[in-house]
Structures are given as C-alpha cells and as structure tokens.
C-alpha cells in the first residue's frame, strides 16, 4: 500500500511499530495448506473418496492462510492497541450504558461447568445451568415487576421483535385481528420501528413536546382499535422520565392497546422503579447495558423479554420450569409464538448478568442512584459549555447540542472526533435525530468523579481551542492510529473483503 507510514526506521520521524499500517492476516501469510499440527486420527484411515462417494470435495483450498502463532499474537496485540476500551478510559455513549464489566463475571462464565455444556444434554446433567436460568428469571421479574421472562432473545432488538410477536399473538387469541399498527415516539431508537416492521406491523410516529416527553394529546388522538401497542422508552432517549406515564398507560389500555417498554434506559431506574408498576405489559432488557455484560465490540448481547400475566402463554419455547428441587425445559406450550433462536439464550451472558445481580442483591438501586447522580453532575459541568436539548431534568443521560455554543461553526462531529485525541471516547452524536447537532452523554455509575471532571475539563479545552483554532478541531483526530476516516468513500465504492492483488 503506497503512502502509508512504515513502522520503524524511515526518512522522517520514527513511527512506533504498532502505529503504522497493520497488515491483514492475508498479508501476513500465504500458507493455505499448512497450519498447526493436527491430532492423529487414531483409527484406521480410509481414502476420503471411498468414505464420501459422489461428494464434491474442494480441489482448491479456501483462501484463508494459516498464520504462525507468534505472528498472529503480535497482529492481535497491535490491533488491540487501536481500540478504545473500558480499561483505557470513559466511554460516555448515550443510550449504550457502557459501564465497567466486572472481571469476576468473565472468570465465572468461563467455568467448564457452564461453558462446556451442550444444549442437548439430559436435564439431569445440566441442573445447575437450568437453576441459574430459573433464578435469573425470578430476579429480573422482581426488578421489572413482570410475571414471567424469556431469557432467549440474543439482543435488545431481538427482544423487541419477540415482544411484538407476543403482543400480536395476544390480540389474535382474543379475535382482535384488526390491530396492525404500533405507536412510536419520534425520539425512539431506530430498532423500535425496524422491529415493528419485521413483525409485519405498521409504524405510526408520535410527536414529542418541547420538554422532550411524549405529547399525550397527540398520542391519544392516534389511539384507536387499530393499535396493537405503544412502544416507549422510559426515561426516553433524551434521558427524561415520561412524567405522564401513568396517564399514557391508562389511555393505551382503555383503547385496547398494550404498552411496550424498551429497556435500553433501565439503568436510570434499576431497583428504584419498575416498568411493571408503570403499567407496561411487555418489557425487554439489555443485559449488555444495565446488567454489565460486555459489549464485545458489538455483541454478543442478551435481550430478555418480560410479560404481564395475560401474555405468559405466548412466551417463546422452551421455558424453564421447576418442580420441587428439579429444573426442566418446557417445550409443550401450545400458545407459544415458537422459537426465536436456536436453544435457550446467550447462556454465557446470562451467567454474567446473574453474577452481577447477586453481587448487588438488595442494594441494586444504588446503581440507578449513582448513574443519575453522575449524569446530572456531568451535565451541570457541561451546561457551562453547551446548550441542553430540552429544559427538563434528565436522569442517567442527557443530550447537549453544539448549536448555540460559544463557537457558532462548531459541530457535534468535531467535538466527538477531538475527544478521541484525549484518549476518551465520544458521546453518541446526532441522536436522537430530533435534536440538531446532538451530543448524548451517558457516563454510567462506574465512572469516578475524577473521571467525570476530566471529561468536562477536556470538553472545556476543546471549546476553548475551537475559539482559537477551529480548523485544528475540525480536522481532528490527530493522535489516533488513523486520522479522520473517509466514510463517504467507504460507502461510495464498497470494499468489503480482502482480495488477492491481480
């Protein structure tokens, strides 16, 4: 590749070994036939052609080279240095709840008694795993105020779709087949309308007030016998608690609709208030947000979905049941919506979430209290720099905007990119889409005051710098392994895989 700084000795300044272009594995090895020593078969060997008569075998190997382990280890080490991560600094992504992932949970999920279990083993061989799932369901029911919970969905969006499928099944079972629409606030996560569409439902958008909460009059005007569900996030994506939630629940139910809770923001309320008590009928949780399972660079997550008593029959199969001291999987649920994935859930994530909840136990509301306190403190400090999107008191996250700050040309993306130079991550930018130049901060409860002060100081330094030298901010980042990445080029001429050079 031309124009790339080579590591090591060159004409100009030295380039650290890890800071130069990192070759792809395909450039580190061309060995398509070798690879590590494999175990001997240990049984009499016959020619494959005889064992697999008429089966088409590859004549050329897949273009995947075996990389010698020492070379591969260093490749991974260098790539690791190119990732911001929670062990390096704050990750204040709004709506993402990037809290610390407890080390002990990784250790526990790796126990062979959990990781080395096959989903088709007899129930007698997996009693501990089933017990853990049964107990986790009870803990999450207690925290959400729901009757039962399925641990199966693999992520939040998967939970949304599962929940909507149950809502459809509930209405259908009552012969109420005309409910084909879902009401969703304009500030909602994009997954809400996408999940509704995947379930075959029509999306109707509900307006927000200037204080960021749902316009109850607008909602009420749209509620009729065609509405299957109202999907809400509470606190909403602006971090504002929907103060009219009890009224919304009342009018939704009066119109025969069910009320769906997107649990993306449960960290504001965990242990302190329950969606079930607010009147929600279906609730999904993101274990990779509120319950500390790691994000893994984009999953695996886990999106359990809970229901009120009237929807229990429609839960995905199987459910985990207890009879006496024995736990078992119940596949015989005739009104179930069916299977939403293979097997029983992202079990490894369930182990971590269970451990997390047990570590806090009855003190878990302290999580919500510190999450809100941290966010409000950071907001108080940043309010000196940026206007806030709405005047209302926010909870665990808040949305600021660069529009109207001291430097009129400063954009959200400039602040976001310059933050990376300081070794901290950017807040969520340009979401919710209802706010121009939005910067959505969610520090979480696991940040120290010192860390929050540092982030606020950095933001102040960036605004001050923009007053002096806007161009330097707008061309950020300067200190990351690569400078601003050309995403337009990436989309215009998609290069989605390595190919050997012609």
């Amino acid at each position: 590749m031309s124009g790339m700084p080579e590591p090591g000795v060159g004409a100009g300044e030295p380039v650290a070994e890890w800071a130069g272009d990192e070759p792809l594995v395909f450039e580190l090895s061309v060995d398509l036939w070798g690879g590590p020593r494999e175990v001997e078969p240990g049984v009499p060997v016959e020619p494959l052609e005889r064992l697999l008569p008429g089966v088409g075998l590859r004549t050329t190997p897949a273009p995947i080279p075996a990389v010698p382990e020492p070379v591969l280890a260093r490749h991974l080490g260098r790539l690791a240095r190119r990732n911001h991560n929670l062990h390096q600094g704050i990750y204040p992504l709004g709506s993402c709840t990037m809290k610390y992932n407890p080390a002990v949970n990784e250790q526990l999920a790796g126990l062979s008694g959990f990781a080395d279990l096959h989903p088709d083993q007899d129930a007698d061989d997996v009693q501990g795993a089933l017990q853990l799932m049964w107990e986790l369901e009870r803990l999450l029911c207690e925290i959400t105020g729901m009757a039962r919970i399925s641990l199966q969905p693999a992520a939040g969006a998967h939970g949304e779709w599962t929940g909507l499928r149950m809502i459809q099944a509930y209405h259908a079972a009552r012969g109420d087949t005309a409910r084909t629409r879902v009401l969703i606030p304009d500030s909602a996560h994009g997954t809400n309308p996408a999940s509704a569409a995947l379930a075959g439902l029509e999306v109707v958008t509900v307006r927000s007030n200037s204080d960021g909460t749902v316009d109850v009059a607008d909602l009420g005007g749209r509620l009729d016998s065609s509405v299957a569900a109202v999907m809400m996030t509470n606190p909403n994506t602006l971090g504002v608690f929907e103060k009219d939630i009890l009224e919304i629940a009342r009018i939704a139910h009066e119109a025969g609709s069910l009320l769906y809770y997107d649990g993306a923001n449960l960290n504001a309320l965990v242990g302190l208030a329950r969606p079930g008590d607010m009147g929600f009928d279906v609730v999904h949780l993101n274990l990779h947000k509120t319950f500390s399972t790691p994000h893994g660079g984009g999953g695996p997550g886990s999106g359990p979905v809970g229901v009120a008593p009237a929807l229990v029959d429609f839960l995905p199969v199987p459910t985990v049941e207890r009879t006496g001291d024995r736990f078992l999987l119940d596949h015989d649920r005739p009104r179930s919506i069916g299977k939403v994935r293979a097997h029983y859930g992202n079990f490894g994530m369930l182990v971590r979430a269970y451990a997390y909840i047990r570590s806090y136990g009855s003190t878990i509301s302290q999580v919500a209290q510190d999450a809100v306190l941290n966010a409000r403190y950071l907001q108080a400090r940043l309010a000196l720099l940026f206007p806030m999107a709405v005047p209302s008191d926010s909870m665990h996250e808040f949305v600021a905007t660069t529009r109207g700050c001291r430097v009129s040309e400063l954009r959200a993306i400039d602040v976001a990119k310059r933050l990376l130079d300081y070794g901290v991550y950017a807040p969520t930018a340009y979401f919710p889409t209802t706010v121009p130049e939005a910067l959505m901060f969610e520090p979480t409860e696991t940040e120290s005051k010192r860390s929050l002060d540092l982030l606020a100081d950095i933001c102040a330094a960036i605004v001050a710098e923009a007053e002096r030298d806007l161009e330097h901010v707008r061309s950020a980042p300067h200190l990351t392994p690569v400078s601003r990445v050309d995403e337009v080029e990436a989309a215009r001429r998609p290069v989605l895989r390595w190919r050997p050079e012609a």
């Binding site: 790339m4 991974l76 992932n101 080395d116 853990l132 969006a157 994009g190 208030a273 409000r376 400078s483």
Partner: protein, 444 residues
C-alpha cells in the same frame, strides 16, 4: 459497594455542584408511588461468596469434558486453540462498543473486515456481513431477505434442516405472513411462486447430498437459493458459492466457540454481490483516512435501523462481534489447511465408529445409502432414549435420541465425532453399546 467508585464525600460534592439537596431530589420526576418498591432480592455478596455460589451451581452440571460425548446436532465440541481464548479475553476487544467512532476502533473494525473476507473465502460468495446471532436466526434473516427480494411469500425448505433452524424460520415467517413448506425434494418443489429454496450442507442427520440441482432449480424458478452450511464442512466440500447458491448462512460455533449450553454462538451470512444492499446487519468496509492511510469503517449504513428505521433491511443492532473475533482468530490460526485436517479427522473417526457400531447385533445406519461427514443416525434395538440412558450410566453421552425431534425416529440416535472424540472414547462407546445392545441388556 461492588463496582461504584464514588464515596459519600464525592456524592455530596456532586450534589452541591448540581444544586440538589439529596439524590432523592434527582428522581422527583418519577411519581412518588412508583419509587422504591419493596423488592424481594437476596442480600449482596462479597466476591468470594459470589464465586463460591456460582461454582456450586456449575458443579451441579456435568460438562462434556467429564464425559465421553457424541452429541452434535448443530453444536460441536471442537478443540479451541489457546490463542483464541487469549484474544477474546483481552479487554481491548471484549469491553469495546460497536465501532461507531472509526478512528478509535480500528482494531475491532479490521478484525471484522478479516472475518468478512474469511467467510467469503470459506463459502465461495462475494459479500459477508459482520455476524448475526446464530445459524438459525441467520437462516431466518436470509429467508426474509429472499421474500423482500422476490416479493413472493412462500419459503420451500428441506425437511432435513436442523429442527431449531426450521422452527426459527417459521417464527420469523409467521410475523410476516409468509408460508413455509418442507419437503425431501426441494429441487423438484421450488417454483415460480416461491421466494427461496433452503437446504443444508450437511443435513441435520449429517448427510451430504448433491445440492447443485437445488441451486439450479431455484435459479430457473426465479427464487433465491439458500444453503445452511457448516463452516468446517466448507473447508472440505465444494462451497455453496461455487455450487451456485445465492446465500450461504450458518453457525460459526465450530470455529473456536465453546458450546456454552447453546449460546452465545455466531451467525454468519454471505451473499452474491447483487444482494449486498439487502443484507441485514453491520458491514465493515476498507477506505482511507485523510492522510491516505488504509483504514476501516462501518459502511452501507443506509440499510440499517438507526438510519432507515421501519424501512431498514432488518432490526438487528447488537450482533455477535466477539464470537466473530474468536472465529477470525481460529481461522487465522488454523488456515484452510488446518480446518480441512480437522474435517478429515472428524470424518475418519465418525466412519470408524459407525462401522464398529453397525457391526453390532441390532444396530444399523438409519440412512444407509447417503454419504455422511462426521455425524450419522443409527437405529438401535428398542427405544433410543432407553439405550442412551443405559450408556449415560457408563459416562457416555451416546448422541441425540431423534424421537425428541421426530416421533417417527424413536429408535434412532444421532451420533457425532469430532477431533476431540478420542479413539479411547470410541472404544468405550463400542464396548458399552455391545453390552447394552444385547437383547437382554435393553430389555426390548
């Protein structure tokens, strides 16, 4: 407190800065009657007590490593090279978020780009995404893609798809009011009314049929052809893309991911170029930074839910990046050659076991005329559940009793060997089966 860094002094300083009298004041917008419900939660645990508690639960299980296991059925116990675990245990990878800020996420982005490239190479197709949840939901997403692509509302699926996959396709289809039919002859059944033809390579019973006619019949009918492929099999067999399939999906669990009681595993999907913009999920593209240096970024996001909302190709957001990293490291360590040897050892051991088991009185192959890789169905004397239970008492998990998924196969077991199934383990299986298969042993 477990993971809370601030103490009373910091909390007070922060309250003072906010201008609030108490933390309770920060929750004033929550109606008072909703606040502080009485929760029946256990007391908090010290880390040491927590470890003891979970170790106690783990000890109530019997992991495969303690047993001679011949279970497969879509989830395989394959050897995981140590460097795979070392990579996914790095906090730089496992604590990172979806790589929205490309400049601070090149590590994750490059590994996903490598993953996409390897999946393309393995399947013989042109575009692969960054991962999906599992093989079953990947197949369902592929079927829904075909519905969107063709505007047709019927899915023709092979009866020998993994039952988990088939039932997930049905759940996805039901929501969209799409019909699903199953048949033993997909190639003959697929017609101009159908959105897609779905087959598996190998099938649920481990068998490999020639899938070429299915791909051809689907093309002739204007339907999308979908192959559910085992990734290790793709290193041995002519891959789906070369056979003419439009989409390959599967579960990447055999590529360095532990069984973990069924999850998290790894869905993958690869498609022909023409289907690129209909793909669900994340895609990473190679591009440049402003200094002309090679760099990577999430791309073609106009397909995705956070941009297109209800018009998105799928609702997927969080996917399975970390298990995709495990698969990437596994494939880079093994290479095409290493994966092929894994496949070959598995085939040799399975065929050896099959030969010895079917040499016993009363045991035979259930599908004697179809070639198979490392998994095969046997008929046993009497009820396969009883047979398996008898073997289990000797520390052997004999396979999956097929009556659990198909009542007509109550006397059959699905038996699997991999490179982790030792020759000694095979000997123990055969010896125990010989004792139990004796008519007196089973009592059948």
């Amino acid at each position: 407190m477990a993971y809370l860094p601030n103490g009373a002094a910091e909390r007070q300083q922060m309250l003072d800065a906010i201008g609030a009298a108490s933390v309770e004041d920060l929750f004033a917008s929550v109606p008072a009657r909703l606040r502080h419900p009485r929760l029946n939660l256990p007391p908090p645990l010290a880390e040491q007590d927590l470890v003891a508690e979970l170790e106690r639960l783990a000890a109530r299980n019997h992991p495969l490593g303690e047993l001679d296991s011949f279970l497969g059925a879509g989830v395989y116990r394959r050897y995981v090279p140590a460097i795979v675990r070392a990579a996914v245990a790095r906090p730089e990878f496992y604590t990172a978020y979806t790589p929205y800020q490309a400049e601070a996420s090149q590590g994750t982005l490059q590994t996903i780009f490598e993953f996409q490239s390897m999946i393309c190479g393995l399947t013989g197709l042109e575009v692969a995404n960054a991962s999906l949840y599992d093989g079953a939901s990947a197949a369902a997403e592929a079927a829904m893609m075909a519905v969107a692509q063709t505007g047709r509302r019927r899915v023709v699926a092979a009866a020998d798809l993994n039952p988990e996959t088939l039932s997930v396709i049905r759940t996805y289809a039901r929501g969209r009011k799409v019909e699903v039919v199953t048949t033993d002859g997909v190639g003959d059944a697929v017609g101009p009314e159908d959105a897609c033809a779905v087959v598996a390579q190998p099938g649920f019973l481990g068998t490999v049929d020639d899938p070429l006619p299915v791909a051809e019949a689907a093309r002739a009918a204007g339907a999308v052809s979908i192959c559910c492929a085992d990734p290790i099999a793709c290193a041995l067999l002519v891959p789906p893309g070369e056979l003419g399939f439009d989409i390959a999906v599967g579960d990447g669990q055999p590529l360095g991911i532990p069984p973990s009681f069924g999850g998290p595993h790894l869905g993958f999907m690869a498609v022909r170029q023409e289907l690129m913009r209909r793909m669900p999920g994340r895609l990473v593209g190679q591009t440049h930074d402003h200094h002309g240096r090679r760099a990577y970024a999430l791309t073609l996001q106009a397909r995705e839910q956070h941009i297109r909302r209800e018009k998105a190709t799928s609702n997927i957001c969080t996917n399975h990046a970390l298990t995709a990293l495990a698969a990437t490291v596994y494939m880079a360590r093994m290479g095409a050659g290493g994966m092929r040897r894994v496949a070959e050892v598995s085939v040799q051991r399975a065929h050896h076991l099959a030969k010895r088991l079917t040499g016993l009185e009363g045991i035979g192959l259930a599908e004697p005329d179809r070639p198979y890789l490392w998994e095969f169905a046997i008929r046993v004397p009497g009820d396969a559940e009883v047979f398996a239970a008898a073997l289990r008492r000797e520390g052997i998990v004999a396979g999956l009793p097929l009556g659990r998924v198909d009542p007509r196969r109550g006397d059959q077991l699905l038996v699997c060997c991999t490179e982790t199934t030792s020759a000694a383990s095979i000997d123990r299986y055969v010896a125990a089966a010989a004792r139990i298969a004796e008519p007196a042993g089973v009592g059948a």
